[in-house]
Amino acid sequence: MTERDLNDELNPQHALASAYLDGAASPAERAHVEAAPELQAIVAAFAAVRALVADVPTAAADTREAAFAAVFTEFDAPALVPAAASAAVIPLNAKRRWARPVLSVAAAILLVGAIGVAAKGGLSGDDSNSSSASLDSSAKVASPDVATESQMTSGTVAAMAPSTIGSIGGSAQAALIIDTPEQLQALAATTLADTVLPTADLPETTAAASENTASADTLPAPFDLAPTERYARPALGCLTLRQVFLADIQYQGVFAIAARDTVTGMTSAITDDCTVLATVGS
């Protein structure tokens, strides 16, 4: 749905009444609304809608307390990332410009592949489509800081610490420059070499992402690297329990992380404020 479509057929009376209700009307608009019975009627209708929307059923006490239990399990878990892991990016020697991203991606492949092989047994139960199962698994994994082989083979979908994978490149990683969904797809493909994932549905895209048509068989030219800048990866806090961190990236000029959903296989570019810039299929 385009922006133009979304703004089609905007009723100006509704726009006035809605702004008035929200206290966002100008003085002239307020006077106009207050002088027009027809507009006052719309305001009253919108106020009734607002009251209904705001009257939300509260969560059951056990639901609330289960959520808090999960929160404190996470809060009490050992720190995942040493403070030094968010250090400044190391400037690159121009001569090694092409070698470093290949080495970083290769290192990512090796570690993700090793974890993926160990995870095959953990993913075989395939009960992760149920959200209640995902809640159960997240509650069971009391110490998700290290994706050990024993956790992987326990039959649960382990909540893998994103920084466990993300730290493979060392404490200072340059962000890969990704300019298109196809490049994001290629990055995802390089980390999927040895990982078995459940069959995913047709890929969906979010935010500004376009339909992905790239083939995962051909790798693009080596990724460029973003200019040296400090990047502290706040976006790690945006990941769901099913998402794993793949790499620091700069997606169309915006610092973000690439993360993959271990259930659907979709890979997303996610910014520090949790905005999903693009999502591509596995």
């Binding site: 009723n11 100006p12 929200d22 969560a59 999960a70 009490d76 489509n129 806090g237 945006c238």
Partner: protein, 211 residues
């Protein structure tokens, strides 16, 4: 002399929680829990998915708390995470096979138009439901692009600028989507109540406004 403890504001609680203070974290999250849950409940449309989305959102907040720098208010940051968690839950639900006996407040398991992400058939059943179920069904019939800003305004009480920051759209777009969303909700509920000639259903002039 009685000394009254002044409740700490969000910024102070965040700082304390970042320093490892469990009690501060507990206070902070309990202060915002109902609204966070409310946002999730209205976006997802049912209690079960709302519970899942709320818990995922709260865990994401804990994981990201150390990186929260206070540039935005804690509430704005929290509702952004809650919105994303709710939309993720909706996407997961669309991939989920229908399970008999699943706890939905309404039978909103019809196929969704992937572009609109609304349930067109929900409106047909509204007239048979009570007020709370009516609004659930009306919201389910509303596309996410309109549902989310209306929910952030009317449940989370965020202003247009905060909603624009969360959704990464211009303020004008937020205003128009809320107005359109309210118009559609009012019209749906009014029709369900048998009112075929109310103010919210005046003929809509076609305007090509781009905001």
């Amino acid at each position: 002399m009685t000394i009254m403890a002044v409740p700490l504001d969000d910024a102070a609680l965040v700082r304390a929680a970042q320093g490892g203070d469990r009690e501060a974290l507990d206070q902070l999250f309990r202060r915002h829990y109902d609204r966070v849950h409310g946002v999730c409940r209205r976006i997802t449309g049912n209690d079960a998915d709302a519970a899942d989305a709320t818990q995922e959102a709260m865990i994401a907040m804990v994981r990201g708390l150390d990186r929260f720098d206070g540039r935005a208010s804690f509430g704005t940051w929290a509702y952004r995470i809650a919105t994303n968690a709710s939309l993720d839950e909706l996407r997961r639900r669309r991939r989920r096979p229908l399970v008999a006996g699943r706890d939905h407040d309404h039978g909103n398991d019809h196929g969704h138009d992937l572009h609109e992400h609304a349930d067109p058939s929900a409106g047909e059943r509204i007239e048979q439901l009570g007020d709370r179920q009516q609004i659930d069904a009306a919201l389910a019939a509303l596309a996410e692009d309109f549902r989310v800003p209306v929910v952030l305004r009317d449940v989370a009480d965020l202003d247009y600028a905060e909603i624009a920051a969360i959704l990464d759209v211009p303020v004008g777009t937020v205003k128009s989507r809320i107005a359109r969303g309210r118009g559609m909700l009012a019209s749906t509920i009014s029709r369900a109540n048998g009112n075929h000639d109310d103010a919210s259903e005046r003929p809509t002039p076609t305007h090509d406004e781009t905001q």
